[in-house]
């Protein structure tokens, strides 16, 4: 099987783009990535997007990209897997190149959410749950789901709201140095802990925001530069009542284990990580499920500063979903943008000598997870 390398990355600033259309955001990121890749002949396009139809009445993003960028009559596809849409799109492209179906593939993720009312966004996001279930009728939302997990985590471990706040603070501090991040205003631990409650115990800073933005990547056959060492995806339960253990996310663990096996690597080989901190609680669970810390001890790692520079493994040096922003379909691609930047040595919050990086993208309440591992290989 052929090796696959990242030949270009692009990303718009994340935040509110009031006067820029979904299509323009998408094109801007794609053109940046294509330019960096020196405009190779693209063989296919994969787009990650979640709510273009429900919030923007715009689908066919694959064909629009091929058409408007003059890429020819190549196959194009939008893929959806809730908040993991970007990671899944990336994996489809990777499989195409690995197996010789394509030599160069353009992948992009995009979302435009800030124009919609809170009510509309909440409803659209809830399409990422199984709504043909009593949980929908009971009024469960995503903050409700992850808030329940946090309460249970507090009950089972020594963790408290302070540890959630420490995750939010770390990611905010990283975002201060990322000029593409949505939130670049400093915040204190006190401010974070005192912020407006969303769903007990999750306050405003514990929840990722709504965001407009896009990110794009060109993948190519090749053995040098930042190469893809592993690409894994797993599914999980789509309803809370079906989870065997509220404090595990089996799709994250399964996708990580598959990726480590593919790469012949383990957690201790990873130098830098972007993971899916849709809520502060999710970051603590993810560092456990990805194998960086033992189950039930993630909060201690946070307390000891082990998930930032100088610790065991710097996590979400981009600012994460919490402070970089979370334009749903773009998130998985923007995580890879950050990991690739780290391995190139050109990132904000650069981790010295980073050679191997991991990106983990979650969808729904654990319905999807992708894990990609990258390595810098000099020519």
């Amino acid at each position: 099987m052929r090796k696959v390398t990242v030949s270009g990355i692009g990303m718009t600033p994340f935040g509110k783009h009031e006067h820029t259309s979904l299509k323009t955001l998408l094109m801007d990121a794609c053109v940046d990535a294509l330019k960096e890749a020196n405009f190779p002949k693209i063989d296919a396009v994969y787009i990650g997007n979640f709510m273009g139809g429900s919030l923007g009445n715009q689908e066919i993003l694959g064909a629009i990209v091929a058409n408007d960028l003059g890429l020819g009559n190549i196959p194009t596809t939008k893929v959806e897997g809730a908040c993991a849409s970007g990671g899944i799109a990336f994996r489809q492209a990777y499989l195409n190149i690995q197996n010789g179906v394509c030599d160069h593939v353009l992948i992009a993720g995009v979302e435009k959410m800030k124009h919609a009312s809170t009510e509309d966004v909440t409803r659209a996001i809830n399409a990422a749950m199984d709504n043909d279930s009593n949980e929908k009728n009971a009024g469960l939302t995503f903050p409700g789901f992850f808030g329940t997990l946090a309460n249970r985590y507090f009950y089972e471990t020594g963790a408290s709201k302070k540890h959630l706040a420490m995750v939010a603070l770390k990611n905010r501090e990283y975002a201060l140095n990322n000029h593409k991040a949505q939130f670049r205003k400093p915040a204190s631990l006190e401010e974070i802990m005192a912020a407006r409650m969303i769903t007990e115990p999750l306050g405003l800073f514990d929840c990722s925001p709504t965001t407009d933005g896009a990110a794009a990547i060109v993948l190519s056959k090749g053995e040098h530069g930042v190469i893809v060492r592993a690409s894994a995806q797993a599914s999980g339960t789509t309803q809370m009542q079906e989870t065997e253990d509220l404090l595990s996310i089996p799709a994250v663990r399964a996708s990580a284990n598959t990726a480590y096996e593919q790469a012949g690597l383990g957690p201790s080989d990873i130098d830098v990580v972007e993971l899916h901190d849709c809520f502060t609680m999710t970051e603590i669970l993810a560092i456990e499920e990805l194998g960086f810390f033992e189950k039930g001890t993630g909060w201690e790692a946070v307390e000891k500063g082990l998930t930032k520079h100088g610790g065991k493994i710097p996590v979400n040096t981009s600012g994460g979903l919490l402070s970089k922003g979370h334009p749903i379909g773009a998130t998985g691609i923007s995580q890879i943008y950050q990991v690739v930047s780290q391995l190139r040595g050109t990132s904000c919050n650069q981790v010295d000598g980073a050679r191997i990086g991991l990106a983990q993208n979650l969808g729904g309440t654990g319905a999807y997870s992708t894990v990609h591992i990258f390595e810098r290989v000099n020519a």
Copy 2:
């Protein structure tokens, strides 16, 4: 590269399913296909769906299928390419098996549209155009687009509204024998021609209906049975103003040419066809673009009865989108269901001795087209 065979097919009746949820339709079709395939270990799931989010507030259909059918934590993906979502999903699955990524893949398409108002459905369908364009502001709809093509076709050729009606009549007559078709009430040429006008010159019978329904297929590695001889996909323009010639659909021609080349076959080798008759006019253009008849002569072929039993090539023996129904995400899969049934010799409107069949699925105003060619190979 490995050969790929169809090991199971399933399909719900098409029509109005007032008391059946999107999820239940999807599960019913999947279980039928899995049962026929004798429940192999499924390695991945691809779902074709277009408006689950906008009309039903339900995404994550891939994960729901894996979860509710107990398929394990396998990778699952929804793909979108407007009305070609089903054909594109099928092609992703095919590539996975052909390249050894998977041994067995479940593909399903589903849509639920009948519960929504005409206004809501029209808006949701228009997400399959580029709405960041002046054409949207000008009020262009799909009947408007294909009606314009029909007027131009009449102008350039000797065709008239009667030839459109003959397409509608043929497909209705085929649907009478398909117990899964939406419309099984006979209609006369006079009734069709006199029906309520939708967009000049397209009347009610010239337009495919809104439909609820689902279809599913299990693809497996294998060299016998009904095998996949070719799988091709192409993109085209996303705006009417960009088309070079109103009477051609380049994506259809390109995907057909690629498929013929892959299979080492030509139009004269095909025994039976299902093609994308979203409007009667589209069927006439498609029989030309697929190479069965010369450009500008499709209407004559229809007049001479060359597109039905006893003619050159029986087209849409299922009743087509026009009379079988058009549940958008399910359509591409249901076309393959029909072609496979024909090649197995178990179809309604059976074509005697059919050995090679073709399915063509269109998305948008020519933004996407997939062509798949199948052959019956006895063990």
